[in-house]
Amino acid sequence: MPVILVSSDSQEFKVDKEVAERSILIKNMLEDVGESDSPIPLPNVTATVLTKVIEYCEHHRNDPVQVPDETDDPRKRSNDIEEWDMKFMQVDQEMLFEIILAANYLDIKPLLDVGCKTVANIIKGKTPEEIRKAFNIVNDFTPEEEAQIKKENEWAEDR
């Protein structure tokens, strides 16, 4: 049973319902709308990004649906991204964050996790200045403030 998704730039994508429902947002929309063939507008997602998102959902269509656990183990690792996902995420930084934003908006937790793991891998090993450069972030700390934070977190350095 196909579902029609419409990107912000008015491009239409026909996908299987099972694939579309990897997005909890779409899944809820479909439940609310019921038996309707009308296309689903996604004003926050452009066609290029939607193409990538659909590609991910197609590949992972048979994955067990993750149940959100209140007692989630906070100690997650980022060095276990599977090969297909790693290749999938080999895009430029702008596209990486567009995928993350789309996954967040569409509520596709596994895709959001993979995207954030990828960003985490970029962050690892970088000094604060290198992180700022990588993501174009303005430093709004004074040197004194920054030194204060460094001192406060000294205990965690070799943890």
Partner: protein
């Protein structure tokens, strides 16, 4: 001041010049996204991120306190920064370090007080100080974000954990190891637990102590009407702590009614008379923690919403101590049913008490809504299996490990179990240690006779009789399999391409356990192949094989760049 303005001016053009950085900035402006990224970072990266800018500090700083170890309180500056950030802590796991495993002072840090030779205090009291510091830190300020608390103490009464101010906790785990010096059979009361932690949904107790509903001699004070309320700050004052602010509404279940708190201030505040607070606890797990049958039934007042009950007897103190002395009767089962009408998951694992098949059948008949059923070390046989299929049609998780009986009994169980597996489409987990499935050889047409209907299987623990290729061909029916434990036979897994290749669709395996044939060395190619074809693998556990190979296996794992995989090798 002038310096700061200069820095800002310097950075501004850099940012506005490239409009292509907008998506990056947009994404990184969303706290939820930063939080998700933070979950994947270790402490060192988190400290770097906390220095990037103010918005980042607000998110990344709190993640440093996700898991607190007792030894953390000895790191210079920790206690103070922990207290400063207490309001954002979401999860605390406090494990009392055993005296033999002292954290080693690294050359970088200035841990003079903890240098082993200079330690003047006995180690037990040092840990106690650290626990007191945890206590103080939690009482210092409100902890609106704290959802999960797990504390393990050694040689102490579990009651001490109840003094930790964490009223917002949804999930609580109390573990004890060693023996309590003050009492040989320490007792914990559900009433007390709920006074300290009224928002609990999940409760786990581990250790050699006893759980009771309320102290002997206390009268049950009936709760006022259907909208029973939860203990408020006033109740905890009775124990000598104060929780300054009320919890956020999202963390409290539907039973809160702050308006009735004033009316009940008169009731609480007197330690010996505890009002019965019904709670929103949905799951209760007891590992070795004793509870009598009567006390369990008494708990119905405290746990009306109970959905999941697990009671497991484990070896404690490296000895086999019998904890549970239960006798089953239809009356008890009926009472259990009346006490906990919402029960969906029931898992029992008594090591000394072998539950009779009649009892199992009786239980299954009484709880038709069960989705998870576990009877380990019980007389789970053909009749029980029939009863399961007849009465508990919603079962998705089944654990019937180490079923007790003679060969004939087990053969009959096997046959019925197979029938179940060939007809059940919703089964997601099957744990059947001690069960060996005979797989028939493929016929001339290449069709495997024993095809199971439960293709959604995610977890499988069992043994097989058959050649390696038939086993793995059989396993290829389960594309969602993530947790696999092949208990029998001992495998060689030499011809990788033909065996695991047959599982081409089953690449979601996260946990793999199998027995290596005795005397066989692990081959590098096998580990490499496994790591390559099981991209989601998190833990590889091999029983058998030489223990000396653990180092080699870890080396191959590093070469394959799969450091996230935990490798365990135990020799049989």
């Amino acid at each position: 001041m002038a310096l700061r303005l200069k820095l800002k001016q310097f950075n501004k053009p850099h940012q506005s010049a490239s409009s292509t950085s907008s998506q990056t900035t947009l994404a990184l402006d969303i706290p939820e996204i930063l939080m998700t990224i933070a979950l994947f970072l270790n402490h060192h990266s988190l400290t770097n991120c906390a220095r990037v800018c103010k918005d980042w500090k607000a998110v990344f700083q709190s993640q440093l306190y996700r898991v607190i170890l007792a030894a953390d309180f000895y790191r210079p500056g920790f206690a103070r920064s922990f207290q400063n950030n207490i309001s954002v802590v979401t999860s605390i796991e406090w494990i009392q370090e055993s005296p033999t495993r002292l954290p080693v002072a690294s050359k970088k840090s200035v841990w003079h007080p903890f240098h082993r030779k200079k330690a003047s205090k006995p180690l037990a009291s040092i840990s106690h100080e650290s626990f007191e510091q945890l206590q103080q830190s939690l009482s210092a300020g409100p902890t609106p974000s704290l959802k999960s608390l797990s504390v393990r103490v050694q040689n102490q009464h579990p009651n001490c954990i109840l003094s930790l101010a964490a009223a917002t906790a949804i999930s609580l785990q109390i573990s004890t190891t060693g023996r309590c010096p003050l009492s040989s059979s320490p007792r914990l009361y559900m009433g007390d637990i709920l006074q300290s932690y009224p928002s609990l949904v999940h409760l786990t107790l581990k250790g050699v102590f006893t759980l009771s509903s309320r102290p002997l001699g206390e009268q049950a004070v009936p709760t006022p009407g259907p909208t029973a309320f939860l203990a408020t700050a006033a109740a905890t004052t009775a124990i000598g702590l104060s929780i300054p602010s009320p919890f956020s509404s999202s963390s409290v279940g539907p039973h809160t009614s702050s308006s009735s708190s004033t009316a009940h201030n008169a009731v609480v505040g007197v330690r010996s008379r505890v009002a019965d607070h019904s709670s929103s606890i949905e799951s209760l797990s007891l590992y070795q923690t004793d509870i009598s049958q009567d006390e369990l039934l008494e708990l119905r007042v405290f746990l009306p919403e109970l959905k999941s009950l697990l009671i497991e007897e484990l070896p404690a103190h490296n000895e086999m101590i019998r904890t549970y002395y239960w006798t089953w009767s239809p009356t008890f089962i009926r009472s259990l049913r009346t006490a906990f009408p919402h029960m969906q998951s029931l898992r029992l694992g008594f090591m000394f008490e072998i539950i009779e098949e009649n009892t199992i059948v009786e239980i299954l008949q009484s709880f038709p809504l069960l989705t998870t059923v576990g009877f380990r070390n019980a007389k789970f046989g053909q009749r029980a299996m029939e009863a399961l299929q007849q009465h508990c049609k919603l079962v998705v998780c089944l654990d019937i490990s180490f079923a007790y009986g003679d060969d004939q009994f087990k053969a009959a169980l096997n046959a019925e179990l197979l029938h179940f597996l060939r007809t059940s489409t919703h089964l997601r987990e099957l744990v059947a240690e001690g069960v060996i499935f005979h797989l028939e050889e493929p016929t001339g047409t290449g069709v495997i006779r024993t095809s199971w209907a439960c293709t959604k299987l995610e977890k499988l623990v069992c043994g097989f009789q058959g050649t390696e290729s038939t086993i793995f061909q059989h396993l290829s029916q389960f594309p969602m399999l993530s947790h696999l434990m092949i208990v029998h036979p001992s495998l060689i897994i030499s011809s990788i391409d033909t065996t695991f290749a047959l599982m081409e669709q089953s690449n979601k395996i996260e946990y793999l356990w199998f027995k290596q044939q005795r005397g066989q060395l692990l081959k590098k190619e096998m580990i490499e192949w496994l790591l390559k074809h099981l991209p989601k693998l998190k833990k590889l556990h091999v029983a058998g094989g030489a223990i000396e190979q653990k180092k080699a296996a870890k080396k191959w794992r590093r070469e394959a760049q799969r450091l996230g995989v935990v490798v365990e090798i135990d020799s049989c």
